[in-house]
């Protein structure tokens, strides 16, 4: 069986020739940006106005928590972050390459997307996955 590297979520795109990126779906009527494919806008209710857009690589930290207890087998502590990407779209992910100490993390700090193996996690078939993370910009 061949072992592949797959995207951890469907809005992470891995082009054959090129760098991975996050894909949003933007409403052509009101500009709302969603993660994942859809045909109707839940903000302005327009139908068939959605188009795929490549989301920006940089953004601002909106909120976060430092997680000290998670499910068994999950490494802690880590920073769970909510990021508003420049140009639209809000994404949740781990903030890495920063000390997981609430005192040392600033709201509004600039962050950028970075792509790595999904912490060594594999599915039942043994496939590896690529995921996205945030790091200080």
């Amino acid at each position: 069986m061949s072992v592949k590297s797959l995207p951890a979520v469907d809005y992470l795109k891995i082009p054959k020739d090129g760098d991975p990126y996050l894909e949003g779906h933007k409403c052509g009527n009101c500009g709302a940006v969603f993660l994942g494919e859809r045909s109707v806008c839940s903000k302005c209710f327009s139908r068939d106005k959605m188009s795929a857009v490549k989301l920006n690589e940089t953004g601002i930290l909106h909120s976060f928590s430092v997680v000290y207890r998670s499910f068994p087998g999950i490494d802690v502590p880590y920073v769970s972050a909510i990021v508003d990407l420049d140009g639209g779209g809000t994404v949740k992910g781990n903030l890495i390459n920063i000390e997981p100490d609430p005192e040392k993390i600033d709201f509004g700090m600039k962050v950028r997307l970075t792509y790595h193996d999904a912490l060594g996690r594999k599915d039942k078939e043994g496939n590896s996955y690529l995921s996205y993370f945030f790091e200080p910009a």
């Binding site: 797959l6 951890a8 979520v9 709302a32 969603f34 993660l35 839940s42 903000k43 909106h62 909120s63 976060f64 928590s65 430092v66 997680v67 000290y68 207890r69 998670s70 499910f71 999950i74 490494d75 802690v76 880590y78 769970s80 972050a81 909510i82 508003d84 809000t90 994404v91 949740k92 992910g93 781990n94 609430p102 709201f107 509004g108 999904a118 912490l119 996690r121 594999k122 599915d123 996955y129 995921s131 996205y132």
Partner: protein, 379 residues
């Protein structure tokens, strides 16, 4: 349209009952509420049952199989942490619509221990700890940290909410715990998801609560002595806000339901004498002081610092001990908080009685999202 009254209402003492079944736990509260109303199952014309963990397993009917199979219509509701409030509201609506005069609402849940939530399931690999955390302590920590960002709210201020609610629970024999937790104990407890320590997370317990709702005609016939008027019932889903699908917006949903409830009741926040709100985490309670209009935006920290939300304060919040200490059996919570407010309006709350209470509010919010608010009035 007829006013609707709570004629009987009760809850079991919350605890852990691994040897009992969900219907058995629910049946106990149902019988207690019937007794409180001075009625029997034969008097009930319909039943609305709230339960989340066995949402596909006909819990309402199985309760009737324990206490009396009269053949009445039963509707089972699931609406996350607003499940109990939704069952109560469905009962209220059926009387408002003029279909029934006497209806039973039951909420029940049997919980495991441990963390709720998490981005599990689906294809591929587990996402928890990979794409942030979907655990409830973290989701509500992130909501609280948004308040810190906007208003400078501190870890200590969030922790004080837990101190308050644990203190209140020492006066509530039906709470899971009756233990004082001073500030240093709360702040030094195991950090689960900053700023929520273990003592700032609601307690997973088993529990049930039930209410008998009646029309005005029926209330007059049976005696209004201990009846409580349902002055408003509001239920909202999450309106679109920019981050809602990534970071559930408990604020917008609560504000929407609160606005509708105040309008229906014809009262304002300043008229409310006590509130039982959804303190699933200490961070959540802070947000809802503002969301429910108990203070202006940005003043929630002052509400806890200055004691306005304590028993004896301007608007006591969660005098039952709240979800933080009374416990949070998901499907039962929305009716248990109605029991608490009714108990105060009836003047039967003992040591924790809010003196002179005439109007009280209950609030629950379940992620996904559903917010249920009721305003209750002493008759």
């Amino acid at each position: 349209m007829s006013d609707v009254y709570v004629l009987g209402v009760d809850m079991i003492k919350f605890g852990r009952f691994p040897d009992r079944t969900v219907p058995n736990i629910g049946a106990e509260a149902a019988l207690m509420a019937l007794d409180d109303a001075g009625l029997t199952i034969k008097d009930m014309q319909a039943m609305y049952c709230g339960n989340l963990g066995q949402a596909n397993a006909m819990v309402g009917q199985r309760i009737l199989q324990e206490i009396g199979q009269t053949g009445i219509p039963v509707v089972n509701c699931a609406n996350a942490c607003a499940t109990g409030a939704t069952a109560f509201r469905e009962a209220w609506m059926s009387i408002k619509a003029g279909i029934y005069d006497v209806v039973l609402a039951v909420g029940v849940e049997q919980m495991g221990k441990g963390l709720l939530g998490g981005a599990g399931g689906g294809d591929g690999i587990p996402k928890e700890g990979l794409l942030g955390s979907g655990t409830m302590p973290c989701v509500f920590a992130e909501a609280g940290m948004e308040h810190s960002k906007d208003h400078g709210t501190t870890f200590e201020q969030f922790a004080k909410i837990s101190v308050k609610n644990h203190h209140h629970s020492t006066m509530n024999p039906k709470a899971m715990y009756q233990i004082e937790t001073p500030l240093d104990i709360v702040m030094n407890a195991e950090m689960i998801s900053y700023p929520n320590t273990k003592l700032m997370c609601s307690v997973n317990v088993d529990g049930s609560a039930a209410a008998v709702l009646v029309s005005e005609k029926k209330a007059k016939e049976l005696g209004m002595g201990r009846a409580v008027r349902v002055k408003a019932s509001a239920l909202a889903s999450d309106p679109y806000t920019d981050r809602d699908l990534v970071m559930p917006d408990v604020n917008a949903c609560t504000r929407l339901a609160a606005e509708q409830a105040y309008e229906m009741a014809g009262v304002g926040p300043e008229d409310i004498n006590l509130v039982e709100l959804h303190d699933c985490f200490a961070t959540a309670e802070m947000l809802h002081y503002e969301n429910l209009g108990l203070c202006k935006d940005g003043e929630a920290g002052k509400m806890i610092d200055e004691g306005h939300v304590e028993l004896g304060g301007k608007v006591p919040v969660n005098v039952s001990g709240g979800l933080l200490s009374k416990g949070h059996p998901l499907g039962a919570t929305g009716i248990a908080n109605i029991y608490e407010v009714c108990t105060h309006l009836r003047g039967e709350a003992g040591d924790r009685q809010v003196e002179g209470a005439r109007l009280g509010m209950t609030h629950v919010i379940g992620l996904g999202t559903a917010c249920g608010i009721h305003i209750l009035e002493k008759v």
